[in-house]
């Protein structure tokens, strides 16, 4: 095979430029129709078997493409549009209506109420099938044939014992059907690959059909294929796992057998570029480094190689979660910090100590939690032991301010969504209490609705491929979503918190303390999107007392809200036996949910974004990065295991030079020393500065290092801004 640098142009866009061989199977449209027919045909057959047979039909018939420019040569025609993020395979599309059908049939009352929540933008309350963390060690140890063998053995054992329920056999049969189909597909790939001159690939595929992976190449090939296979079944393996630790024995073995390190680095390059090209939604994460329960660093030689290769490739997908702890290898930390400074904003540092404490809070000891990986953006899952449905609920907290002001009614639609609270509220304490009650009312409904949907998980989306990665599932004959694992948790996420807090501060100050406006007039101002109240709007926006500036009043309101949520929900026992976990990240829902939110008392206009993650409201972190960091550090991260993300923006000039790097690293260390959970940095590029120039109102706090001090970029004249942009571009 040619060098990676020569092959890269033929690989990095291969999904967008796919040309599937029609002789290898049935086209995606035709397959989709066939799958839909299966979905729509009434049958008495148990749902897991219907889905497994459909899955097998899909694998037996999908078209293939071989790309000779990469050792990860095969692609499948699943009718996916790769122009943005790859989503919606034909299997997903064909079977997606099942959730609605189950909700309508089994939970009609809750579903009708849910519709009113959804109309107000509170639409994210569901079982989460798309953030799975496969049990990678078990998978690698057994390979495809091993899992199949174990499933068959478990089935035989149940039958022999005679004490079983039919659903256990149904589950195991569905696993067997799916893994048999995978092995048949490997056979098809092998046979087809012989038409090309790629003997290494052919041999690798043949071996994976016969035994577990044994070399680094085989392990990587296995993980690429497994993720495909899980995804074709409408799920999503979110992390490649802790690949430095998982792959190290294979790396070491290859080296002992004489494979040069450079060859293994070359493999890694192809491996990473596969995920860059595959453009999976929200990118493909992997975890590295971290410590064991006693604080011993997991870093190994492969950790260094991985980071070096990733850096040199200049890619952002896959994304990296580096587990930070106080004894993290110094070279790794310096390298990671340097990469973040150089614009690798796809690196996220996660604090082991905060995660361990979070797990302890819900009764999971370090003995187990030391095996956590990050499954999505910031959410840890104990690999091989835990199912956590990390995105079961995403709740726009700002709506509860709106409900408290408006008697539980949505201001834009007039619909009664929250509870009918009183309109005339005499004090801020009373207002705050009503706000919390609205929050409880909505969260209680969501949790109840999600839990009830969980009873029907295997009818909505059976998970035989993912479940096959857990020996507990095979031994107990139970799907992951029948909750046979050691830990069966569920996550509730609240976001929009800075907008919420700033709005509450404004109500406290302007309605109740200064009495500059009545609550009734606030209601009117928000309904009119501040028209007629512009002077007050300007005053409220300019008021410096905002969350994210290390100021006592807003930060106290923030911690009061979060302490309330933690007390009420964190660690609550679920009907499935697991615990409730909480999280505070918003990802891009701050935009979508903002569109469904009326004007807010902090001066924000209707339909504009609400605050992101735990960031200050746009342009309101006037106190700089250290003040913002300290506001975040006041939050008890142990109660919010699903993420207390600190994401920041700095201009490269603010951390320039060798001293800048050392100080930037010190800043990060302080964050974790004081209990920080997750840190992700944006070192702003010239492109972002251009955007700031076009929309200064959104970038009021963007600072640039002029000389000896920082200036707000938007305060510079256009000519100077242009100069700065140019300098940024020149400096890369």
């Amino acid at each position: 095979m040619k060098k990676f640098t020569e092959n890269r142009p033929f690989v990095e866009n291969e999904f967008q430029n796919a040309h599937f061989d029609e002789s290898t199977g049935i086209g995606a449209n035709e397959l989709y129709e066939a799958l839909q027919k299966i979905q729509d045909t009434p049958t008495d057959e148990p749902r897991p078997l219907v889905c497994a047979e459909a899955y097998a039909y899909l694998l037996d018939n999908l078209q293939l493409e071989i790309n000779e420019h990469t050792p990860f040569a095969v692609k499948f025609n699943l009718g996916i549009d790769y122009s943005y993020f790859a989503t919606n395979s034909i299997f997903q599309k064909a079977f997606s209506s099942q959730k609605r059908k189950i909700r309508e049939k089994e939970l009609p009352t809750e579903y009708e109420r849910f519709k009113t929540f959804a109309a107000a933008g509170l639409d994210w309350m569901s079982v989460d099938f798309t953030h799975t963390v496969p049990n990678w060690p078990y998978l690698l140890q057994n390979g495809f044939p091993g899992i199949l063998k174990n499933a068959k053995a478990a089935r035989a054992e149940l039958i022999a014992a005679g004490d079983y329920e039919s659903k256990q056999i149904v589950f195991l049969d569905s696993v067997i059907i799916c893994y048999q189909a995978m092995i048949r597909l490997l056979g098809r790939i092998y046979a087809y690959s012989l038409q090309f001159n790629i003997p290494q690939f052919s041999a690798c595929i043949k071996r994976l059909a016969e035994r577990p992976p044994e070399t680094l190449y085989e392990v990587m090939q296995f993980s690429v294929l497994y993720l495909y296979f899980e995804e074709i079944g409408a799920e999503r393996g979110r992390t490649l796992g802790p690949i430095d630790r998982l792959y190290f024995p294979y790396y070491e073995n290859d080296r002992k057998n004489g494979t040069p390190e450079e060859d293994l680095k070359e493999l890694l390059r192809y491996y990473f570029i596969h995920f860059t090209a595959a453009k999976r939604f929200a990118e493909q994460p992997f975890t590295m480094c971290g410590s064991d329960k006693d604080g011993k660093d997991f870093t190994n030689r492969l950790s260094h190689i991985i980071l070096d290769v990733y850096d040199e490739m200049d890619i952002y997908d896959p994304k990296i979660h580096i587990r930070y702890h106080k004894d993290l290898d110094k070279q790794i930390l310096r390298k990671a910090v340097s990469m973040i400074r150089n614009g690798h904003n796809s690196i996220c540092l996660i604090g082991d100590e905060a995660v361990f404490k979070g797990y302890e809070k819900i009764g999971i000891p370090r003995e187990d939690s030391q095996h956590y990986v990050i499954s999505g953006c910031y959410e840890p899952i104990v690999m091989g032991m835990e199912e956590a449905e990390i995105c079961a609920m995403r709740f726009n907290t700002v709506k509860c301010v709106e409900f408290a002001i408006n008697g539980g009614k949505d201001i834009q639609t007039g619909m009664q969504v929250g509870y009918a609270s009183e309109a005339d509220i005499q004090s801020f304490d009373a207002f705050f209490a009503i706000f919390l009650k609205q929050l409880d009312y909505c969260t209680d409904f969501a949790l109840n609705f999600i839990e009830k949907q969980g009873r029907y998980s295997t009818r909505i989306n059976p998970s035989p491929i993912y479940s096959g990665s857990f020996p507990e599932c095979l031994e107990k004959g139970a799907d992951v979503h029948e909750y046979p694992l050691k830990y069966n948790n569920l996550s509730l996420k609240h976001h929009g918190l800075a907008t919420t807090v700033d709005s509450l501060v404004a109500i406290q100050k302007y309605v109740y303390e200064r009495k500059e406006i009545s609550l009734a007039d606030i209601r009117k101002a928000l309904a009119q999107d501040w028209r007629g109240f512009e002077a007050l709007q300007a005053k409220v926006i300019k008021d410096k007392e905002k969350y994210g500036n290390n100021m006592d009043a807003p930060d106290k309101i923030m911690t009061d809200i979060l302490d309330h949520l933690a007390t009420r929900y964190c660690g609550r026992t679920l009907e499935r036996g697991g615990k409730v976990r909480l999280g505070l990240d918003s990802v891009y829902h701050c935009i979508k949910h903002g569109e469904m939110t009326s004007a807010t008392p902090d001066g924000r206009n209707a339909k504009t974004p609400i605050s992101k993650n735990l960031c200050a409201s746009d342009g309101m972190d006037r106190g700089g990065i250290t003040a913002y960091m300290q506001s975040v550090l006041k939050i008890d991260s142990a109660s919010f295991l699903d993420g207390v993300p600190f994401d920041f923006i700095l201009h490269p000039s603010a951390v320039e030079g060798e001293k800048g790097l050392v100080d930037f690293e010190a800043l990060i260390k302080v964050f974790f020393e004081y209990g920080g959970f997750a840190l992700q940095g944006n070192i702003i590029s010239g492109e972002t500065l251009k955007e700031a120039q076009l929309h200064p109102e959104k970038h009021a706090t963007l600072q640039v290092r002029v000389c000896g001090w920082n200036e707000y970029f938007v305060k510079l004249s256009k000519v100077k801004q242009d100069m700065f942009i140019k300098q940024c571009e020149v400096s890369g």
Binding site: E534, A535, Q537, A538, K539, I541, K542, N550, G623, G624, I625, T626, A627, Q630, A654, V655, G657, K659, G660, V662, D663, A666, L667, K669, V670, E673, Y674, A700, R705, V706, C707, G708, W709, N710, E711, K715, L716, S717, K718, K720
Partner: protein, 293 residues
């Protein structure tokens, strides 16, 4: 009187620092990038480029009027009533200069104590000229020393020796600017002699306190001083670092906002390479640790 407290400053001494900017300076450096630091009293910055002529501020006081359908700010009528600053949706107005007690300042800067400790950083007094308010400096320094916080004094040096003596017991590092060795050049660039400055630098060096020297390099103003400055520094024993700071004209707009003309509108901006060459030239005079910045 101070005009800013800025956290996460990494260029004003070791580690992560919080810099307190004191208002008022005896020098009038023509390239001064903080013109709002020169006077000892409050001032108003009005940024006409940000004004959208919404007229929200007009009619509230005599300083903001409508002329030919547009907003006009009358600086001479401004009385610091701050009504315009409060109401302006475009942030056109900014009052610079605030009286704060030593305790208030100390309490503000100590908010970032964890970062100072975690990075080997501390607090820097800058300006303006901090030692023109040496009593306030000492009062704040007492609070800082009580918590063992590292203190750097960023001074132009044009202060009485007694001021140096007053702050000395609390100071870990002095950051001195040397604009020129030639007194005539110094006078033409800053309006004052450099005798006291050079004397103070020698004095601090004699006392053994670590020093960082900054040479603000301004083409056609003091660009011929590099070697002379280098030879002056070479005679000192406690200079830990020399930084060559490149002139820039980013402050031009601030002058406009203060209603003052920019003193040197046509000075070329030195390239990065030029600054590196200046640093090299100083190194060739026998200096170590010269950093182009």
């Amino acid at each position: 009187m101070i005009f800013a407290i800025k956290p996460f400053e990494i260029h004003d001494g070791d580690g992560i620092r919080t810099t307190v900017f004191f208002k008022g300076c005896p020098l009038r450096c023509k390239w001064c990038h903080n013109p709002e630091s020169q006077l000892f009293e409050r001032e108003i910055l009005f940024d006409s480029e940000l004004c959208k002529h919404c007229m929200a501020c007009t009619g509230l006081c005599e300083a903001n009027i409508i002329q030919n359908g547009k907003h006009l700010f009358l600086r001479e009528s401004y009385t610091f009533c701050k009504k315009c600053e409060d109401i302006c949706p475009s942030d056109c107005f900014e009052v610079t200069g605030q009286s704060m007690s030593a305790e208030e300042i100390a309490s503000q800067v100590l908010k970032d104590e964890i970062f100072m400790r975690g990075s080997g950083g501390g607090v820097t007094f800058s300006g303006g000229e901090p030692l023109m308010q040496v009593d306030l400096c000492v009062e704040i320094a007492k609070f800082l020393k009580a918590r063992d916080i590292n203190l750097a004094i960023d001074t132009c040096g044009a202060v009485p020796k007694s001021s140096i003596d007053q702050i000395l017991p609390f100071t870990d590092t002095f950051l001195f600017d040397i604009k020129a060795i030639d007194e005539a050049v110094h006078l033409s660039c800053t309006g004052v002699s450099n005798k006291q400055i050079l004397e103070n630098i020698r004095y601090v060096d004699f006392l053994g306190v670590p020093i960082e020297i900054r040479y603000p390099y301004v083409p056609s103003m003091n660009s011929g001083e590099a070697e002379k400055i280098a030879y002056f520094i070479k005679e000192l024993k406690n200079v830990k670092r020399v930084r060559v700071l490149a002139y820039h004209n980013y402050a031009e707009r601030k002058y406009e906002c203060l209603g003052r003309p920019y003193p040197i509108p046509n000075i070329p901006i030195p390239s990065k390479k030029e600054i590196e060459l200046v640093a090299k030239k100083m190194q060739n005079c026998g200096l170590k640790n010269v950093v182009p910045a």
